[in-house]
Structures are given as C-alpha cells and as structure tokens.
Symmetry: C2
Subunit: 488 residues, 2 copies
Amino acid sequence: MKQVAAIIGGGVIGGGWAARFLLMGWDVRLFDPDPEAARKMGEVLDNARRSMPGLFDVALPPEGVLSFHETLAEAIDGAAWVQESVPERLDIKRRTYAEVQKHIDPEAVIGSSTSGFKPSELQEGAKDPTQIVVAHPFNPVYLLPLVELVPGDNYDPRAVAWAKTVLTGIGCYPLHLKKEIDAHVADRFLEAVWREALWLVRDGIASTEEIDNAIRYGFGIRWAQMGLFETYRVAGGEAGMKHFIAQFGPALKWPWTKLMDVPDLTDELINQIAGQSDAQSGSYSIRELERIRDNNLVAMMRALKGQNWGAGALLNEADSARDALAHSADEITDPGQPITTVNRAVPLDWTDYNGHMNEARYLQAFGDATDRFMELIGCDADYIASGGSYFTAETHIRHLDEVRAGARIAVRTRCLMGASKKMHLWHEMYEDGRLLATGEHMLIHVSLETRKPSPPAPQIEERLMRFAQAQADLPIPQGAGRAVGQGR
Amino acid sequence: MKQVAAIIGGGVIGGGWAARFLLMGWDVRLFDPDPEAARKMGEVLDNARRSMPGLFDVALPPEGVLSFHETLAEAIDGAAWVQESVPERLDIKRRTYAEVQKHIDPEAVIGSSTSGFKPSELQEGAKDPTQIVVAHPFNPVYLLPLVELVPGDNYDPRAVAWAKTVLTGIGCYPLHLKKEIDAHVADRFLEAVWREALWLVRDGIASTEEIDNAIRYGFGIRWAQMGLFETYRVAGGEAGMKHFIAQFGPALKWPWTKLMDVPDLTDELINQIAGQSDAQSGSYSIRELERIRDNNLVAMMRALKGQNWGAGALLNEADSARDALAHSADEITDPGQPITTVNRAVPLDWTDYNGHMNEARYLQAFGDATDRFMELIGCDADYIASGGSYFTAETHIRHLDEVRAGARIAVRTRCLMGASKKMHLWHEMYEDGRLLATGEHMLIHVSLETRKPSPPAPQIEERLMRFAQAQADLPIPQGAGRAVGQGR
C-alpha cells in the first residue's frame, strides 16, 4: 500500500521534503497558501528528479503522486507523516499544530523543520504534545541525508521509532538527540562560523569569496568525510586524542574568535556582503548555482559511496535494503531467460562533454552486471575473501544509442558459455525497450594468491554451468562474436 | 635546474610539506633534531606517494631527492624556499629565524606553518623581517590545496610574488590575506566550532560521533564545494543575499552558541572525549584512519575535478600547466610512430575489490587517450562547441595484466584508419615496458545537433588522414580485428 505524507508549507525546505518523499515512492499531499506554491514545487522537483535517483545503484520505486490541497484538513487526510515547514514563528507553528491535531491519524507523527526552536516550545499547549517532534533537515533536502530528530524530554518511544522508520526509509539519517537545546547541533556550529565570518568581512580581513575558499580548499573537504573529532584524532597521530586536546586546548583561551560580540547588521555591512557575493558568484543565476551544487554533491557523495564511508556508506545501506527485494525477485525468474542484473538511474556524474553517458560508464554498468551475475553463482564477497575471483580478460562493447543523466537503465545478462575456468557473458543495456549497448565479456577464474588462472570451487562451477545449460537453447545474440569494424 | 626547499621541523606538517615538494620535483633538505625524524618522514611520504600523484590526470615530474641534515645552516644551503614547522612557541620560532637568516639566500622566502601567530609577531627582531611570511597549510598537506599566505603590513611584494609562484607550482592555493589577524581565517572558524563542540559533549547533548555525523552528513558536504557564503546565496534563492541576511540575521542575537564561555578542560571532560572517540573510531588504527581519510579525499577531490569546481578546478589548472609541456612534446614526435596520449598515475579510487584497477577505468584511460588524439587532429573543445564530435561506436579491450593504484601508466595510440566519418584507433597501455591492455575503437563523426553521422570539417579530416597515412606502414598490431574468445 502506498504511504502518504502531508507537507505543510512548500518553499525550498518543504518542497525538498516533498520531492524526497515522492521519489521514494510516497504519495505527497501539499498545503501552502502561496499562489506560487505549484511553480516553486515544480522547480524543486525538477532539481530532485535530475539529481537524486542516480545517487543510488539500485532503481528507486515508482514515483508517488503529488497533489495540492486548499485546506490543512484535506492535506493531512490519510497521512502517516506530517512535515511542517512554515515560517520560523512560534505562534504560526502552534496554530498549525492545533489545526492539524483536529484531524490527524493518532498514529501519525508531525515533524517540524524548525532550525531554532526546541521541541518543548513547539509542544506547549498541544492536544498531544508527544506527536510533535523536531525533524530538522538540511538543504538540499532531497540530497543531504542528515535530519536532526529531537523528540524532547517527554516523548513517546513509539513516535520516535516511527520517525526513525520513516526517515530511514526515505534515505535520511535521523540523528536522534537525547536532550533538547536551542538550534539543535549543526546550526549551532553554522551560527558560530557565520558570526565569525561577518566580523572578518566587516573588518576587511577577507572577502566572501576568500572565506569560501578558506573553507572549501581546506577543512571543508575534510569535514565532508570525517567531521571534527575523527579528523583531529587522525591529526593527533599515535599520541592520541588526549594529547591533541592538551595541545589545542590552550588556544581556546586565546583571542581567536570575536566571541560574545555580535556585529551590527548595518545597511553598510549588508551591502558589503551582497556586493562581494555578487562579485564572487554573480555570473551564475541561482538556478545555475543550484544545479552546479547538486552536480557537485552527487559526484562527491558517489565518490564516498565508492569508499563505503560517510554519506556514501548510508547510500550503500539504502541500496542493500532495496536490493534484497530485487535479489529474491531474481531468484524466481526463469534461469533459462536473460537475467536482469542492473536496474538503476544514470547518475549526473556519468555524463561527459558530449552531454550523454560517457563510454567508460557503459563498461562500469556492464561491470556491475557481471558482479551481480557472479553473486548469483555464489562468487560473492565471502568467496572472494576466500581467495578466488573472476577477472575480465576481454570485452567488446557496441554503443548503439545514447542515454542521458537521469534515465532509468536496465542490463539483461546471458551466460553464453560457462565451464572450467571460463565464463562468457553477454549483457544488453536498455532504456525501456530501447537497446543502448551490448557488452560481450570473457572472464577467467583466478587464484587471488597466485594471480593466475585456477579452477573455481565446485559449487561455483556447478551453478555457472546450470545457468549456461538453461540458456543454451536461446538464439545466439545479434552482434556476438564480432570484431571491431566487422560487417554483419 | 632542480629547485631546493629546506624543511625545518618534520612531523605531520613539516613531513607533509616535504612530501609535497618532493613529489612535485623539488629536492628537499630536512632539519629536525628528533631521532625519529627519518622514520616519521618515511611514513608521511608513504602516504603521500600512494595518494597524491593520482589526483592529477597528467604525470608529475620525477620525484626530487630527500636528504637529512645535522644543522640548520647545512639544511638551507641552496634553498629557494624555507618552510618552518617548529613547535608553536614564539621564542623557538624567532631563534630559528635568527639562525636561518645568518645563512639564507637573500632572494629566498621563509614560510611559517604557524596556525596562530601573526606575521608581525614572527618578524619582530628579525634581520630581514619581510623575508618571513605566514604560509599556513592544512593537514594532510600533500592533498589539501589551501595555504593561508599572510605577509603582514610591512611586506616585500617580490617576496609575496615568489611565495605565490612557489606555492602554486607545488599545487597549493595561496590565499593571500591582506590584513593580519590572530589565527588567520580558517582556524578562527575551527576554533569557534571546536569550542561549541566541547560544550555539547560536556553537557551531554551529543557524543563525538553524533557531532561528526551532524557535520559529515549535512553541511560538511556542502562546504566541501561551495563554502559558506555561496551556499547561503543559493539557499536564499531568487530573493538574494540581502534577503537571506535579513532572515538569518536575528538568530545572531539568540542564544545559539555558548559564546564567551570556554569550557574548562578538566580531566573528566578530556576523558569523556577520549572515551567517546575510542568508541567511535577505535576499531581503526591511526594509520588505517589516515589511509581511509586519504582515499576519501582523493575520491572527492577527483569527483570535484570531473565537475571542474572547487578544489577539483584547481587540480585541472595544475594539469593544464603541466600538460602544455606534454603537448608541445607531442608535436615534435614522429607522427609515423604511436603517439603518447596518456601519461598518469593510477588514482586510489580506480581500484576495486580485486585490489587492482577496475575494468571500467581501463576504458576511462583509453577514452582519455581518444580525447587527446581528437585534440591533436583539431577536434577540441572549440570544435565540439561548434557542433561536431566523434562518438565511440565500438570498443574491444584485452586485459593482459593487472595494475595497482599509484602505478605510472602510459597509453600509446595508433590510427589504424581515418577517412570520411570513420576513425579507427588502437591504444596500448603500459606500465614501464609491461603491456597491460589494448583497446581497439571505432569512432564515428556526428553532428551534435542531429545526433547522426556527419562528415567532419575538412581541416579535421585532413589532419586525421595525415596521421593515418603516416602510420599506414606500421605492422598490424597483434590482437587487432579480434573478437571476444577468438583464438589467434
């Protein structure tokens, strides 16, 4: 059964939530009195559709249905999750909860996107305070996994459990804070840095661009993968964390920040910042910057995925959760027919200067297809750790048609021959019914110790031969056995 | 002529400087009285050698020579750059400069790695104050490009120009701060975040791991590519930077940070942090964490390189500077012989679970070789922008031998046939004399408007045919025209 989320308040944050729920297969009911709400939502959804599906190596479920509603009561009808992203004013938020709680399913949870308020402040005066939790996301909501989940001191464990299930299910990382505090955790850091940055601009120490460069060419890249403490643990080296604190500790008392002072946001300072920002980034429109940002985030998160670390490890976990389904589906498929071994969206970072998927990424997708087929015959991570694997000896690719970022591609795999050390595979890549490419591959089983050809374990060979025999009567695929430039 | 850098003080920072200079082709003379200096330097250099060369798509120059010296005077002999990374004590630093300035080449510059002191503090009492500048790097120095360059109020423009030349030449980004301030720019931000993080741990709001996750799953990834102001410019949307400041401004006065208060570094707090850090990261040794960090940084910086943005754009600039040389070298090579089209190190993120370069990366390297050959016949970015390009129609790869991360690979390219719309290329990939793989490719010239085959511009076809004719008498390469699994 389709699950339903109600999104109260569109805009950049609410729209980002809506896009994430939709692309993860939820139906979304949106309430926002702004007459521009549909246009704004469409723009966020465009950005999300081009960037988010390709983060994963397994296709997302079919997109849910988006609907717009005139009243709060109508929007929350049937919702298992209500996400509130109305303006940062306590009176508005409390009025919204009062109205929502007249109609809401008692099992549903109301998550607030507030960046500053504590849950106890939101809950005050509510009919069912424990139904309201802070679920604070980070922009762009459809890409960044962090959600600060703060239920407050007086919470309902079932609501927290449901919140974690929902948030994890849509690819988020719920960071459950056990104690409430103003602005939660991340925005306290952002606030500290923002205040210091205002001083540096005001005092003419550095421009906005120089400050951005000081971040993105240095500690920004470090923090994208390890954060603060683990980075310092490494920097401290063998001497350890205590030694590091002892070294860095005294600096806390030195005048390295402006501390208590808050710069006055005079017109002069605001103009100074806006002018520097124009000089730095003004050659791009906001829409262009959004897309550049999303391209960068996708490329970096996929890079971390390859390392199975940080935000990339979260993506791999999400893939595994979905992949288990695909796997069991494979197992009931007729082994006498080609097997679907890849089912995914083309990521943003797989395209090149010609505007289409780069040739090397075809081989990456075919390599993933080969890996999946290897798993199906039992050559999985455990087997590889035991010292055997298949290496590709030879590959022939025919590029028959182009494909662009965001397209859903599938690879169907045949075993042309499998016996002794050899495995001869044939992959066909499709976008819907359109054949994009074929890949013909000869693999050899090797010993990872000697790096030389060696026979596979009997159970591997047995399963391989079972596939080969079951598919032996299929017609030879068109294009198999062909050399480069050879006519038909 | 080889250039010489003197590194005063080994350790993590000094060793990182030494590794960067060495891998960029400078000779390095190191002075460090620590009896463990050679071992420590060796460990940093191991890390740098495995991670840094593969950041780039063009091979680095031959590594310089590292030597250890007993005295400061000996170490700085012939040095065009002296980098001081001694402990963070003003008296030690000033004594070091006094000794260095007895012997140093007056044209050389002394860069200090100090994270806290202002240049005026370092320069006080020096024989030639303007020779001393702050050149503050970020760990790991061999990967992160940022160097805060602070010459102070009374500076010598020639020294600053030389500092920029040297730092840019070794792949750094010198951020020239026009005014001095305690702790420069980046460490002021780190300090503000560190202080706040200590409070959050002490007050039991979040553990070290939760804080790290709050950073690396959210704003850390954003900051790796855009920094603070550009990120907020995008978040502000069409309403612009002024609107954003007006919205976020009032929060400055709210109690979102602990501000002036500095937590006491009691034994209890230190133990709490060290214990939480052990629980978070203790399953890895520091050495393992260093390598994980470097793998992550390389993968993300290369991801940004693919987007030509942030730290990745700096890498592309560095490649271009080196590539210009390779290009002119190509032009004097005999066009009747195979042409070197790729000369690079295998990046850390090109290897897979089998411990060797992944099959798709062979095609990536061959694709780069094809791109270079296309440039040589005039099919460059300008030509592609005018609406023509070559698409690969067919590829045949023979994987003949393995190669591991860090290895230097070269691709030599032959034009087997080039006429009308067709271009038939043959690539051979080598590590030294060892043949790793061959790639046979048929490309078709297309109109980027119709996406259909079309004749190339006359000047392109003419240059293509010139190569094809010059190489027509070479013997047919072994393995050409072969289908998958076909015997010789």
